[in-house]
Amino acid sequence: MSVTLSESLEPDAVESREHLPGPTSKRRRARPRLTAKLVVGSAVVAAIVLFAIVGPFVTQNPSAISDVGLQPPGDGHLLGTTQTGQDVFAQLAHATRGSLTIGVVVGVLTVVLSSLFGVIGAYAGGVTDEVFNLFTNIALVIPGLPLVIIISSYVPNKSIWLIAVVLAITGWAGSARVIRGFTLSLRGRDYVLASKVAGERTWRVILVEILPNLIPLLASQFVFAIIFAILGEAGLSFLGLGASNSFTWGTMLYYAQNGLALRLGAWWWFVPPGLLLALFGAALSLINFSIDEAINPKLRSQTRSQRKGWRLTDKQLEAVKEDAL
């Protein structure tokens, strides 16, 4: 799962921060360059988002039942029909909207929660940091899906919003740790210290001096959270614990699976939601590669001689490394 990706990336991300130049020049350099990865990733994501926005308006009613079930693609049904004669394409459009909604909601919530715990804790330091960090670490080690399964089996009549909140609550901790690590390193920067000495208020230091530097990192965490959420929702739905009365990729797969779509040869029912999910996830990963390369220039493709030209920094690296442990 993508979460693994974000976890194993995280200490790296923390360290890579060290090599960033100051804030002003960074803002210029951190903008992802137009690499092939970025172009392809953005194009796919844009296409799927467009489908989610426009699709439901132009397709048929996804719940409308007709008497001819399991029709192969063609003949009025672009992607065929389900067991009860519902239009798969229409369902796919609504499902895409549902899944993306969950993804975005979870993404936003994750970023908010993780910045809250990560930035404030790390900036304040002392007991606050201890408590916040402890809380984050506990949330991190308690396995998410079993917890989500239990929570969602508790809640009746689940809306996709609720599923999103549950996923966010169980998924923010990893991001918070990454963000904390980076904030710790920023806290000691000269310009932050300077603004502190200048008597800036705390919230201003956080908002003006620290947060802008976190933006690329937050963006990458946001993207990860989306993948995590969509996959998590799909897993929950597949187990029959997802949102009721709604369409997502997960619920579509669940019904296709219940209808034995694969065994009855109805690939047009089973394959599209999964494929779209994989495509979307892969596209987001490509975007994340670009973000990573932007915030960690070392990851860019360079020649060996260029690499040798890199100058290394500094004591803080050690400090951050240790904190990451």
Binding site: S8, N137, Y154, L286
Partner: protein, 329 residues
């Protein structure tokens, strides 16, 4: 040693948090075990008001106690290793169900995680070392596999390998028709052949993360001064890669190992459902479907403890392989 004490202190608190969470969540669930058992009975035959009474007696259900005294007695039971009795599998103790299922999951997850880690880190090392090579360009492809839902991949693999090409077993943990559990060759062989496809699913879905993480760390590490120095000294590239770069680059991956284990556990729950694998994930799902409070609690607790335990283990291991953590204390 102060670091170590801190870490252990942390795990104690995390353990307490997990235990308390475990106590609270199921209590907030709707429905009560007696009604559920009654409805189960009604599917088999008639029920009368007397049935209700008899089941209340059977389950010893007493909701009149206060939440606090329930919590105290819950903690007391835990201390004695008593996880209660499963409602849906009455009168089997929860611990028996866990004992039956946990080994399968540990085996499946353990082996597939180790394979995935070793392969991923190995490939990541090479990809980072030889950047821009064909292996490196494979990285986006492996991360795409990560975005494929476990169960979707599992179902397709099962359909193709099991039903279409018929080279893999269709379900279960071993061949129940011709072998019987024990340390005999046919049984062990059949456990392996039944485990390949589920394990492959987990490996395929999780290897990309290791690979990418390792590759990126390798790239960062290779830019360090001491690598340049090593190169300047004329050391053999293989030695630089293994001893100088990979050894340092692997540290974050090791730190991430245990945490990612939690996610592999999550994936395995879904995978087990697809392969009808007799592990703890499938038991958890059955418990949820049957609203079996005690079983759910027990399984959640055991999963959490296993993940905590794995974390602690890796933490200790980390202290061994990374001397800095020791010195700091």
């Amino acid at each position: 040693m102060k670091t170590l004490a801190r870490r252990i202190g942390f795990y104690v608190i995390a353990f307490w948090a997990a235990v308390s969470l475990n106590f609270l969540i199921p209590r907030l669930m709707p429905g009560n075990p007696v009604d559920i058992m009654l409805s189960k009975l009604a599917q088999h035959g008639p029920v009368t008001p007397a049935t209700r009474h008899s089941i209340e007696l059977l389950l010893g259900a007493d909701s009149s106690q206060s939440l606090w005294s329930q919590y105290v007695s819950y903690l007391g039971q835990l201390v004695h290793g008593d996880l209660g009795v499963s409602v849906s599998l009455y009168p089997t103790p929860v611990s028996t169900v866990i004992a039956q299922t946990l080994p399968w999951t540990i085996g499946l997850i353990g082996i597939s995680t180790v394979i995935s880690f070793v392969l991923g880190v190995g490939l990541g090392t090479f990809a980072g070392w030889k950047r821009g090579s064909w292996l490196d360009s494979l990285i986006p492809v492996t991360t795409m596999f990560q975005s494929i839902p476990y169960f979707w991949l599992a179902l397709i693999l099962l359909y193709l390998f099991g039903s279409v090409w018929m080279i893999s077993p269709l379900n279960g943990g071993y061949d129940v028709y011709t072998t019987s559990p024990g340390w005999n060759a046919p049984f062990v062989g059949s456990v392996i052949s039944h485990g390949i496809l589920p394990a492959a699913t987990i490996v395929v879905s999780s290897i990309g993360g290791w690979m990418l993480g390792m590759r990126n760390m390798m790239v960062s590490t290779l830019a360090e001064d001491y690598i340049v120095t090593a190169e300047a000294k004329g050391l053999r590239p293989g030695r630089i890669m293994r001893t100088y770069a990979a050894r340092n680059a692997v540290l974050p991956s090791v730190a991430g190992f245990a945490i990612s284990l939690g996610f592999v556990v999550a994936g395995s729950i879904v995978t087990e459902a697809v392969f009808s694998y007799p592990g703890i994930g499938s038991a958890l799902l059955n418990a949820v479907n049957a609203n079996d409070y005690a079983l759910m609690q027990g399984i959640f607790l055991v999963i959490t403890l296993s993940v905590l335990g794995a974390n602690l283990l890796v933490d200790l291991l980390y202290a061994v392989i990374d001397p800095r953590t020791r010195q700091r204390g």
